[in-house]
């Protein structure tokens, strides 16, 4: 499809388990973002890639969170030793250019539930 694709759509993890969330951005989009959306809240920024370079990871809540985009296209967000407070929807977004006026296109998200 032409949009941002995320997989899996839903993930249930036992506390302490590692998870990996995948994002396929729109083809050719330079910028890629990860956001975390807790229930009833607005999305909160996690990290930003320009091509394969991770330029901003200031929003990652702990060193258990790790993101990569090795070839400048697909990105993976990994969470190690998941905890209940990690339960949220994880949204990926991409945009065609780096530029503050460029709108970002969002995927449907991955709903992570840690039990």
């Amino acid at each position: 499809g032409a949009g941002v694709s995320q997989s899996p759509r839903y993930k249930v993890a036992k506390r302490g388990q590692d998870v990996a969330l995948r994002c396929d951005p729109i083809s050719g989009h330079v910028s890629l973002f990860w956001y975390q959306q807790a229930l009833g809240q607005g999305p909160e920024f996690l990290t930003y890639f320009q091509n394969e370079a991770q330029l901003d990871k200031s929003g990652l809540p702990s060193d258990r969170f790790f993101a990569e985009r090795p070839e400048g296209s697909v990105s993976t967000l990994k969470i190690q030793r998941t905890q209940q407070e990690d339960s949220a929807v994880y949204l990926c977004a991409s945009s065609a250019r780096q530029g503050a006026g460029t709108e970002a296109f969002f995927g449907q998200g991955t709903r992570l539930t840690v039990v």
Binding site: F33, G42, Y48, A100
Partner: protein, 114 residues
């Protein structure tokens, strides 16, 4: 620090009536402002943006928003609401310069009643 406020958790409107969803922002530079809509079990969809120029911005599905620099507001409006407009609406701000991350408000749930 930059922030976005959406003072209403929920807005209720009768179908056919005009609607307004409020947003105010706090930034130190020139803001780039966005509205997104989120339907159940779907991702955020871009509605419209303000970058510069005309303070009244027109977007998708008949929505528009008015940028007011003196009041630091960017309210979303539509002249005639539809039941299908019922969804969660998010206002967001992005600074010029920097790494382009969006700062979102907490969201406003719009309920349009027949």
């Amino acid at each position: 620090a930059q922030s976005v406020a959406q003072p209403e958790d929920q807005v209720n409107v009768a179908e056919g009536n005009p609607l307004t969803v409020k947003c105010t922002y706090s930034v130190s530079g020139n803001p780039y402002l966005f509205w997104y809509v989120q339907y159940p079990n779907r991702g955020l969809q871009f509605l419209l943006k303000y970058i510069t120029g005309d303070n009244l911005v027109k977007g998708s599905y008949g929505f528009e928003a008015e940028f007011n620099k003196s009041q630091t507001s960017f309210h979303l409006k539509k002249p005639s609401a539809l039941v299908s407009d019922s969804a969660l609406y998010f206002c967001a701000v992005r600074l010029s310069g920097g790494y382009n991350k969006l700062i979102f408000g907490a969201g406003t749930r719009l309920a349009v009643h027949p």
